[in-house]
Symmetry: C2
Subunit: 196 residues, 2 copies
DNA sequence: GGTTGAATTGAACGGGTGTTCAGATAATCT
DNA sequence: AGATTATCTGAACACCCGTTCAATTCAACC
């Protein structure tokens, strides 16, 4: 018996992606089977192939969408480097706290991407890093920041900020606002000039 | 035909662990089969069970050994918090650069641990974090550090320092010494007091 | 040189994998 | 009401999984 209650194409597609996202984040891409995803959606495994050509593409599209949204979430406007760095840090934290599963996947499942898919994601990731490095470089030129190496500082700051997703839980001791304040305080001090 | 060239028990054990480590780090625990590990060692899959009760224990023992070595690598001596923080940061970086595969596994494969194994590893990880937090708290009490939240600063610093393994490559632009200097500079400034 | 025993093979076990596809079903259109 | 078509099922395909174990091989000992 097929399709027991009406046409579902428009809702099933997103539900497949949502189920894959949830299960990939919880158990890892390799550990999740198409049959498990189908069960989560409430459908047989064969039906998934109406919505994705294969399992690999399901993972890739989740990661690509995430990276593109991340890049679209905010673009530098070229103002004061200090203000731009603050905006970057707060956006980064807020965006990552809003999408814990996608963030988790984007960092953990890189090695499960086919080589072509991997380079697409890597390029998007580099574009994001370059944005932060641009801010740091501008700040160093104008004397607002003092970092020994802008590339390294870029990676250190992103690692620090992204780390928030490993411990933050909704309704915990600290509000998002407060978390943003605390991290921004550390970032600002870490790159600050003139206080050696 | 078995054992084509002599008794191998003493060398095969470590070789099994080394092969598992390498393959788990490259492709992930769930994506690596016992037959692949056996092939890397140059043995049939059944022979692996002379050296591990099962695949899960192989992963767990790698992670447990790593965490115990990390804790044994250095213990705080109770001196100046600034000096202790520097020692901690430099040890952390050096240790992590020395064992990229183990570090990778310890962070990526937590969710593939059985619940009992998971809590063992989690406890070791918490013990490590508590060491750093102890340093920060001592520094805050004596007025050397100013951090809004020592627990959060602990996690932020560890995330930042551990991030070094994602980009550092042997023989690259920066020496280990220089990397340690740069990260220490950022950590020191991030927690510094009296320069708001 | 025959015996012992550790080290290993290779086949087997039950079950799970991603993917395909003919056929069934039900909502929509004429 | 009947035809059409998008949606989904369920079985099948070839293959891989972790693990067990009787049989085999060979170094060491008597």
């Amino acid at each position: 018996m097929a399709r027991t209650q009406g046409s579902h194409a428009e809702t099933t597609g997103p539900r497949v992606r949502a189920a894959a996202l949830k299960l990939f984040a919880r158990h890892g891409y390799a550990a999740v089977s198409m049959r498990q995803i189908a069960a989560e959606v409430g459908v047989q495994a064969g039906a998934l192939y109406l919505y994705t050509p294969d399992k690999q593409t399901l993972l890739f599209e989740l990661m690509r969408g995430h990276m593109e949204d991340l890049l679209a979430d905010w673009t530098p406007v070229g103002g004061s480097p200090v203000a731009e760095l603050e905006t970057f840090a707060r956006h980064h934290i807020r965006y990552h706290l809003d999408r814990p599963d996608l963030v988790f996947i984007a960092y953990m499942e890189l090695r499960n991407l086919d080589p072509e898919n991997f380079s697409v994601i890597e390029e998007l990731r580099r574009a994001y890093e370059n944005r932060l490095e641009g801010i740091l470089r501008a700040g160093v030129e104008r004397g607002h920041f003092a970092v020994p190496d802008t590339k390294l500082a870029t990676l250190a700051i992103i690692a620090m900020l992204t780390g928030v997703t490993t411990w933050y839980r909704e309704g915990g001791r600290l509000s998002r606002e407060k978390v943003g304040d605390i991290y921004w305080d550390m970032v600002r001090k870490a790159v600050r000039a003139g206080h050696a």
